[in-house]
């Protein structure tokens, strides 16, 4: 039986489009130092480290080895996991297994990306199969644009419906001192922004950010001593449903990886009515339409109901299930850290450390990762030890 595990500290950098003042290793150090301070620990207390990013963004091979001076990994066990956009959640989940297995007591999870040092789209293009997929689905935007078009066609959703997601998240970012884009954006602003690939406009899509995030996980018995209110793992589920982008284009099915991962996670956590039982969600929504379609797949509302569910302000601060109090991915996107930021922000909400972005009385918080070939990670954290 797995040991119970909780997040007991989080740390993140202030996110910007360009951090010429630091190397990626120094940026990692900022996040790690902040997480250690949050948990009132020193690096000597850490038994093992899990780190992740995407190799081709910084062009550093063996980042686990390269980063030790920033991560604190000198003479410690350090392991690298990397799964594209989901990397951050994958790192958190790997750290969870480090502790749950009984082999380690206190583990540091780190995600980072210095997008300013990369050609983001140039790198992402190479994820597609070189023979079959690369010529049709190069980069991140085209596959999302076809998904959005199919969703609009099927359910009659409008570009304005999607833009409301952008307005919501960008407004939420005003409460988050760490967010990259802290300037409110209205539906009208988004509608007037330049078209990138129909129907995705500049205001609909995430930025490229420099930044790092770190979380400290600890075992049952130790976690309670470190944190007043640890954020306990109740579920961790991953589905890499697709290997080929071509297979992911049956848009009538919805985002199958999210449906399956959330079903697995709800079963682990014993959750039957997600909207009633989950108090806040930090979702990896890289573009606005995801905030419609994917909340259907995760079971917050029925198929085709998302536009109404969102416009009724159920997902705004003060609503039934606030989504992305941090401002989400639309406001901050340092890719290898992005999904770990979702987990960290969910932990912050459970631990009651959200400051102006805090949702009151959070018991259960859900975080997701999205990436790779339409893959999904789901983590559920709780103030109650399972």
């Amino acid at each position: 039986m797995a040991r119970r595990v909780a997040i007991v500290g989080t740390g993140q950098t202030y996110h910007k489009s360009h951090r010429p003042d630091v190397t990626s290793r120094e940026m990692i150090h900022e996040a790690v130092t902040a997480a250690l301070a949050d948990a009132d620990l020193t690096i000597r207390d850490i038994d093992a480290i899990v780190i992740g990013n995407m190799d081709h963004f910084e062009s550093i091979n063996y980042v686990d080895a390269y980063s030790v001076e920033g991560s604190g990994g000198v003479m410690k066990p350090i392991m690298k996991v990397s799964t594209g956009g989901t990397t951050g959640a994958t790192v958190a989940i790997a750290a969870y297994y480090h502790v749950a297995s009984g082999l380690f007591e206190r583990v540091l999870a780190i995600g980072f990306e210095k997008n300013s040092e990369s050609d983001t789209t140039g790198a992402i293009i190479t994820c597609s199969d070189p023979v079959w997929d690369r010529f049709s689905y190069s980069g991140a935007i085209p596959s999302l644009a076809t998904e959005a078009t199919a969703y609009m066609e099927k359910y009659g959703a409008t570009q304005e419906d999607a833009a409301l997601i952008g307005e919501r998240d960008r407004n939420h970012a005003m409460n988050n001192p760490y967010a990259h884009l802290r300037r409110p954006l209205s539906v009208a602003d988004i509608m007037n922004s330049p078209m990138l690939a129909y129907p995705i406009k500049l205001g609909d899509i995430c930025p490229r950010s420099d930044g790092a995030c770190a979380c400290i996980l600890a075992a049952d018995g130790i976690a309670q001593k470190i944190a007043k209110r640890p954020a306990w793992f109740r579920a961790a589920a991953v589905r890499h449903t697709y290997t080929w982008f071509g297979d992911s284009t049956d848009y009538n099915q919805g985002l199958v990886s999210m449906q399956r991962a959330s079903k697995d996670a709800y079963a682990q956590a014993g959750i039957t009515k997600p909207v009633d039982e989950i108090d806040v969600a930090e979702l990896y929504l890289p573009y606005t339409w995801a905030g419609l379609k994917w909340i259907e797949d995760i079971g917050f509302c029925g198929p085709g109901e998302a536009a109404r569910f969102v416009s009724d302000r159920n997902t705004h601060m003060g609503g039934k299930i606030p989504i992305n109090p941090s401002g989400g991915v639309i406001s901050t996107n340092c890719i290898g850290a992005t999904a770990l930021l979702r987990v960290a922000e969910a932990a912050i909400q459970v631990m009651g450390k959200g400051g102006k972005r805090q949702v009151p009385d959070v018991k259960n918080a859900l975080a997701t990762g999205f990436g790779g070939c339409f893959w999904s990670d789901v983590v559920i954290l709780s103030s109650e030890k399972p």
């Binding site: 995407m54 062009s59 091979n61 003479m75 066990p77 799964t83 449903t241």
Partner: protein
């Protein structure tokens, strides 16, 4: 630690160029073969760890290439970017956390990349990369440091190449089974002082898979389980100038922790066979020192005394090791597979007699910066 075992293993034959196989083909073959070896079906597997590296595959999110092939379609899956021994470590942690069985797959095609470029990418982009340093030239620096420190002769480390290529003749998966002499190694083409062609591993294509399971699944497998007794990993400093390259401190730390878990006090007496990752000949004695099979500086004598040869007290790399096939990342998993086969008694012509306890080793990063050590045993 709860009981967990390696219950199924598979490798492709390692070759210079597998032109007719894409990554997914290689992984599909070893996934099926590992399941057959264990007597399990993919439905018995509830967790998948793939091992790959975006640099070596020339592909961002390299795990994407093998999701279907590894059987990960509707299972909890992840990707370790590093040596196969680290991927297996993650697989083990998942089993210890409650999964019934994890399959760990690794793939690599050296034929499709340029190692000088991809391993140059290991080095600091500001201070070192423009020097052109790569896996081979950094290994040469380490070899010089080690040989000079202890007065080890090039002929001494050449014996490792002779032994391992000779052992490879009994391993049907090895790429370079060869009958060679120390003189052959000494007169082979100089690659980077003091390393010559036959001191260096070949470029290889291949894949490997293992299945790690808890007691419940292990009981129903058709193979004898290789029980995990101890495992640990550790990483040292990054900059070569900050390190003592002739003193593998991270390996020593990992080994000590793995031995402590396994209850091993005297490794030379209690371990029957070792499979260590030695892409360069000097690495085998250096790692044996780090693993505390001997005192610092004495690694070079082990082979001369016949200790590490087949029939010796501690046969090292009966498979032929990485010198005989080095599909990077896969090579560490292959060491663990070979150690498992030895304690199962299934190593065929390369079987070491009465191999009760075996050690497997792999590493990440330049000059062995981060090491992982496994102890497996035929006895629960």
């Amino acid at each position: 630690m709860d009981n967990a075992a390696i219950v199924g293993v598979a490798q492709t034959k390692y070759e210079r160029r597998k032109k007719d196989h894409i990554f997914a083909d290689l992984v599909f073959d070893v996934t099926r073969a590992a399941l057959e070896d264990a007597g399990l079906t993919i439905d018995d597997i509830d967790s998948v760890v793939t091992v790959s590296n975006d640099f070596f595959d020339g592909r961002t999110i390299s795990g994407m290439a093998v999701g279907d092939a590894s059987g990960g379609q509707d299972k909890n899956i992840s990707t370790v970017s590093g040596d196969g021994t680290f991927g297996a470590f993650y697989g083990l942690m998942r089993v210890l956390s409650g999964y019934k069985a994890t399959i760990v797959v690794a793939h690599y095609k050296g034929s499709e990349g340029s190692l000088p470029i991809t391993t140059n990418g290991m080095f600091d982009p500001i201070f070192h990369r423009h020097l052109g340093i790569d896996a081979i030239s950094s290994a040469a620096i380490q070899a010089n440091a080690y040989l000079t420190r202890y007065g080890i002769r090039e002929e001494d480390i050449a014996q490792v190449s002779v032994k391992n290529h000779g052992n490879a003749k009994h391993n049907p998966f090895a790429q370079l089974p060869m009958e060679i002499t120390v003189a052959d190694v000494m007169k082979s083409r100089k690659i980077a002082e003091p390393l010559k062609l036959l001191d260096c591993c070949p470029i290889s294509d291949g894949a490997a898979a293992i299945i790690i399971a808890g007691e419940e699944v292990a009981a129903k497998c058709k193979t004898k389980p290789a029980w995990v007794k101890g495992v640990a990993h550790c990483c040292e400093e990054y900059f070569l100038g900050d390190r003592d390259l002739a003193n593998p401190v991270a390996l020593r730390d990992a080994a000590r922790r793995a031995y402590a878990m396994a209850g091993i006090r005297s490794p030379m007496d209690e371990i029957d066979i070792a499979e260590v990752l030695e892409p360069f000949s000097y690495m085998e004695p250096l790692w044996l020192e780090g693993l505390e099979f001997c005192k610092p500086g004495e690694g070079g004598n082990l082979i001369g005394k016949g200790i590490t040869t087949m029939g010796g007290k501690l046969p090292v790399n009966p498979s032929g090791g990485a010198l005989s096939a080095n599909p990077v990342l896969v090579a560490g998993l292959a060491r663990l597979i070979e150690a498992s086969l030895q304690v199962r008694g299934d190593a065929g012509a390369r079987q070491v007699k009465d191999a009760g306890t075996a050690l497997a080793h792999g590493f990440n990063g330049p000059c062995g910066q981060s090491h992982c050590v496994w102890i497996v045993s035929g006895n629960r």
